[in-house]
């Protein structure tokens, strides 16, 4: 009955997985999804997410060649090829007249706009300076720099407002209609693009990366020495995803091969192999399904880490088969050739509980990626354990009948424990070595361990979570240094209850940013303001212009008269201004205009009941001073996710370290209750000494310890505490074999993770691999004499 219910449950799980989960499954490749959220509130969280979503679509390329004559055509070939691929929603290369055309088309809405300098002159009664400059510009080459002619804009007010709102180009210069930067050997031009598809979907990665490759080839056809460097979040996402995919395949493949080899070598029967592989499959399906239902997606790194499930979940099946093995060699307690299986369900449940508890400690850190890994592993292990306990005896009988009918298996008793394990189990360290040698060994190991521990240091930075490939970092650095614009991940977030309130706050922030530039704390800032102006400021500016410039006999009349315009021309300008009364530049109109393009992504718009905008900082060299200055403005928050994440990692590393001490103490206390003092210490030593030696090894490796190492040690405790208990409680040979197999598969799985390119997966991999190896060796050496 129990078997039937469990069997139906497994079938239901597999059906659910195949027909519901698989068609809907979304593999997340966004590394940001792994990071802890450090936002102070809901709006900030949404704002950071929306801004990240937008900016992760943006790409900047520099296309260079030694031949300046070929530069335009090379960039053109590159841009055209990108455009033709259809992978991009936007490709910008040639600078055309769209900005000036848009400003001319919006002339009516823009008559009330003022540049900061002109506003100051008018507001402080310095209109005479404005007039003087206007007269000079009419006679000197300064007039040539103006997008609006002197007749249309005699005071240069519209021209100044227009010039102020276009962002600078950093080191790049407009040459002809392309932006050009020169270095020692090359001339470079700039191509910008935005991906059409979701930058965190692997399909988008494929089309974007192959489009870039094709564009590279197209550029090389024009200039054979064409050199192209790109920068953009999607390049990181694509590199990380393809790396993770290949790691899943390689690690999973190696793991499976190792498990198969081990089973074939130890059991030499078909049934254990088939049943074990099925168990791994069922456990994996359950784990993926659980993540899908709880998180709505499965992260690619969960799958990378999930390959370790193969090596850990296989333990329960192996315990089951080892238990049914007769002892080998000559000195078996039960005599050779006869199997005396125990009821191992309690032992399996105990082992599973400690391991799952180890994984559940991952949940203490508010890191979504780690939580997904914990849930994935815990679900997989619990499933594997349940399958072994509930399904194995009966299904093995059924399989045995089937296999014999199909002549796949001969009828013969299970193979005995291999001879070398039997010999290992029967030989004891204290018999093999003289007492002095053992003391010397312990002293040397303890001394080495102490020296290693002394070298240990901690480092909690975001690089422990991800480390982009060096080639990508170099390309990004090249783009940055060529463009001369150093926007980084730190930015300023402005939120308010209405769009106009956001603009007012941005305008309040402007003078603060100008002061920071003047004090050389930042090089510059990129903001929606002054391209988009608050209604309040537009009204105030109009009033200022009406009074100081357009009133009869005011600046406009005086300047136009001096230049020789007649009264009708003055009246025409005045009535144009009057006609535009009550017409304002609105966010909706601005967003539709080409003029907003350079900063449109900074306007986040509505987030629930709130509205938000982002201000980017260029060359932020004094983050503390910048934070203090900008946060003095109401509704303004300085966002530094990297520092915040490092703080979170450090805080939880300390919490996890304390937790580890508590767990070790509790474990020791429990053992003291169960066993007499000497035996308790003997049982606790392997796990505790294993942890200490692992930490010492990390010290010797100059591997700075972070949260992930500490959590892995808790996992080692969960995996390794069983070893001593099984060795103490189980029958000698079978116990040694079971623990040996368990350790080997775990070592292989986590050892493979130690080769991962993702730093935190690697940290967990090496820590657990060393941890289980040390724990096993010490447990084996320190095991009590068998009864």
């Amino acid at each position: 009955m129990r078997f039937r219910i469990a069997f139906v449950a497994v079938l239901a799980l597999l059906a659910l997985f195949a027909f519901w989960v698989v068609p809907r499954m979304r593999v997340e490749t966004n590394l940001l999804a792994l990071l802890p959220s450090t936002a102070e509130n809901r709006v900030q969280l949404d704002a950071v997410k929306r801004f990240a979503d937008r900016s992760s679509r943006e790409l900047v390329f520099v296309v260079g060649t030694a031949s300046r004559e070929r530069l335009r055509a090379t960039g053109q070939a590159f841009a055209e090829s990108l455009r033709a691929s259809g992978a991009f929603a936007r490709v910008d290369y040639v600078v055309d007249d769209r900005y000036i055309a848009a400003a001319r088309a919006d002339r009516e809405l823009r008559t009330g706009l003022l540049a900061a300098r002109d506003r100051e002159l008018l507001a402080t009664g310095n209109v005479a300076t404005l007039e003087r400059n206007a007269l000079r510009a009419a006679y000197t080459p300064l007039g040539f720099t103006r997008p609006f002619g002197i007749s249309d804009d005699p005071l240069g007010i519209a021209s100044a407002a227009f010039a102020e709102e276009l962002p600078g180009t950093g080191r790049a210069r407009l040459e002809g209609d392309i932006l050009v930067v020169k270095d020692d050997s090359h001339a470079w031009t700039i191509v910008r693009a935005a991906t059409a598809g979701d930058p965190y979907r692997t399909e988008t990665h494929h089309v974007v990366m192959s489009a870039i490759d094709a564009a590279r080839t197209a550029a090389t056809r024009v200039a054979t020495d064409a050199d192209i460097a790109g920068s953009g979040v999607i390049l990181h996402a694509a590199a990380a995803a393809s790396k993770a995919q290949s790691e899943v395949a390689v690690f999973g493949g190696f793991d499976l091969a190792a498990v198969i080899l081990l089973i074939v070598l130890v059991f030499r029967q078909l049934r254990p192999l088939v049943v074990t592989l099925l168990t791994i499959g069922i456990a994996t399906c359950a784990a993926i399904a659980m993540c899908h239902f709880v998180f709505g997606e499965v992260h690619i790194l969960t799958l990378t880490f999930g390959t370790s499930l193969i090596g850990v979940s296989v333990d329960y099946a192996m315990h089951y088969f080892v238990n049914r093995m007769p002892s080998g060699g000559s000195v078996g307690a039960d005599g050779p050739g006869v199997a005396h299986p125990h009821d191992i369900a309690p032992a399996l449940i105990l082992g599973c509980t400690t391991t799952v508890a180890g994984y559940l400690t991952f949940l203490i850190a508010p890191i979504p990626g780690l939580r997904q890994i914990a849930l994935f592993s815990a679900t997989g292990l619990a499933t594997a354990c349940a399958v072994v306990i509930l399904l194995y005896p009966r299904s093995l009988e059924l399989l045995s009948i089937g296999f014999r009918k199909a002549k796949l298996e001969r009828d013969r008793p299970p193979r005995a424990v291999p001879g070398w394990i039997a010999r290992l189990a029967d030989r004891r360290l204290e018999n093999a070595l003289p007492r002095m040698a053992i003391v010397a060994l312990v002293v040397v190991v303890a001394g080495g361990g102490a020296a290693g521990l002394a070298r240990l240091e901690a480092r909690d930075d975001v690089r422990s979570l991800q480390r982009p490939p060096p080639a990508l970092v170099a390309a990004e650095q090249k783009v940055r240094s060529l463009l001369g614009i150093g926007f980084d991940t730190r930015f300023v977030l402005v939120t308010a209850a209405s769009p106009d309130e956001v603009l007012r706050r941005l305008e309040a922030l402007d003078p603060v940013l100008r002061d920071l530039v003047a004090a050389r704390r930042i090089k510059g800032a990129l903001s929606v303001s002054p391209s988009l102006v608050s209604l309040e400021r537009q009204r105030a500016d109009r009033a200022l212009l009406a009074r100081e410039v357009y009133a009869p006999g005011a600046a406009l009349g005086r300047v136009m008269e001096r230049l020789g315009f007649d009264a009708a021309a003055v009246a025409a300008r005045q009535s144009e201004f009057a006609a535009a009364d009550g017409k304002f530049l609105t966010p909706a109109h601005w967003l539709d205009s080409p003029l907003s393009a350079p900063v449109r992504h900074l306007w986040l718009g509505a987030l629930g009941a709130d509205h938000a905008a982002v201000v980017l900082l260029d060359g932020n060299v004094a983050p503390d001073a910048v934070r203090a200055a900008v946060e003095a403005v109401p509704g303004v928050a300085y966002v530094d996710q990297v520092a915040d994440i490092s703080n979170v990692l450090g805080e939880y590393r300390r919490i996890a370290s304390w937790l580890m001490l508590v767990v070790v103490t509790v474990m020791l206390a429990c053992l003291l209750v169960f066993y007499r003092s000497g035996a308790a210490v003997r049982t606790a030593i392997p796990a505790a000494a294993g942890l200490a030696l692992t930490l010492a090894t990390l010290g010797w490796m100059h591997e700075p310890v972070n949260l992930f190492h500490v959590l892995s040690l808790l996992l080692v405790l969960g995996l390794g505490v069983d070893y001593a208990i099984i060795l103490r409680e189980g029958r000698n040979q079978q116990a040694v074999l079971a623990v040996f197999l368990s350790m080997t598969t775990t070592l292989i799985s986590f050892g493979l993770l130690g080769f991962s390119s993702v730093p935190f997966v690697r940290s967990i991999g090496i820590t657990v691999a060393f941890g289980v190896a040390y724990t096993f060796l010490i447990a084996l050496a320190a095991r009590p004499r068998t009864h």
Partner: protein, 212 residues
């Protein structure tokens, strides 16, 4: 009478335009067109002279006239010193522009802050240096040349961005550049006549260098 006038006009036209404009497609053609100017320019480090500028604006019956002195230094920049109707120095370098009125600095704009300024500064530089490579990036060029008459070079912007500011520029000269005519997109025309143009193979005087 009418026919006679027409004949006279045609005759005048044929004097003003002795040859069909031909496209200037490379540096050699430009050097050939501008003859002596090109030879003098190739040896000069510095060009000094005086100018009279007339600006014809839409809605103005008489042009805005200014005069002063100019200085072009290869690789350094241009100083455009307006003396009348007021004293104003306009200094253009690779990095940006500075305006000094009556000796005091009134305005400084970096090219990084105002990309449009680059266009103006490039046009000015290229016009004075008659540098084919620089000019051909921004303009298509055609020239008219006949023995005994001044050569004329017409420059039309290649790109929409520049076209929205300049419609065309005409440079006329014989042994030196004589005049530059800039036609704005909005119909304004600026005529600059150059006088006393000297090509100096030596560099800037220390006093001049200080002003940049």
């Amino acid at each position: 009478m009418r026919a006679g006038l027409l004949v006279l006009m045609l005759a005048a036209a044929s004097v003003a335009w002795p040859a069909e404009p031909v496209s200037v497609a490379n540096a050699a053609q430009l050097a050939k067109l501008t003859r002596d100017t090109a030879r003098s320019l190739s040896r000069a480090q510095v060009v000094r002279g005086a100018f009279v500028q007339q600006r014809h604006l839409a809605g103005l019956s008489k042009p805005l006239e200014s005069d002063g002195r100019f200085l072009f230094a290869r690789g350094t920049g241009i100083e455009w010193h307006t003396e009348k109707p007021f004293d104003s120095q306009f200094i253009l370098t690779e990095g940006g522009m500075t305006q000094r009125d009556e000796g005091g600095e009134t305005l400084r704009i970096s090219v990084a802050d105002q990309p449009a300024l680059t266009v103006v500064s490039r046009v000015f530089f290229a016009l004075f240096a008659l540098d084919f490579n620089a000019l051909s990036q921004d303009f298509t060029m055609s020239g008219t040349d006949a023995p005994g008459a001044p050569w004329q070079l017409a420059l039309r912007p290649r790109t929409a961005a520049l076209g929205s500011v300049f419609r065309q520029a005409l440079v006329t000269g014989d042994a030196t550049v004589k005049s530059v005519r800039l036609e704005d997109a909005n119909g304004d025309v600026t005529e600059i006549a150059l006088r006393d143009v000297q090509y100096d193979p030596k560099g800037l005087t220390p006093d001049e260098r200080r002003r940049f």
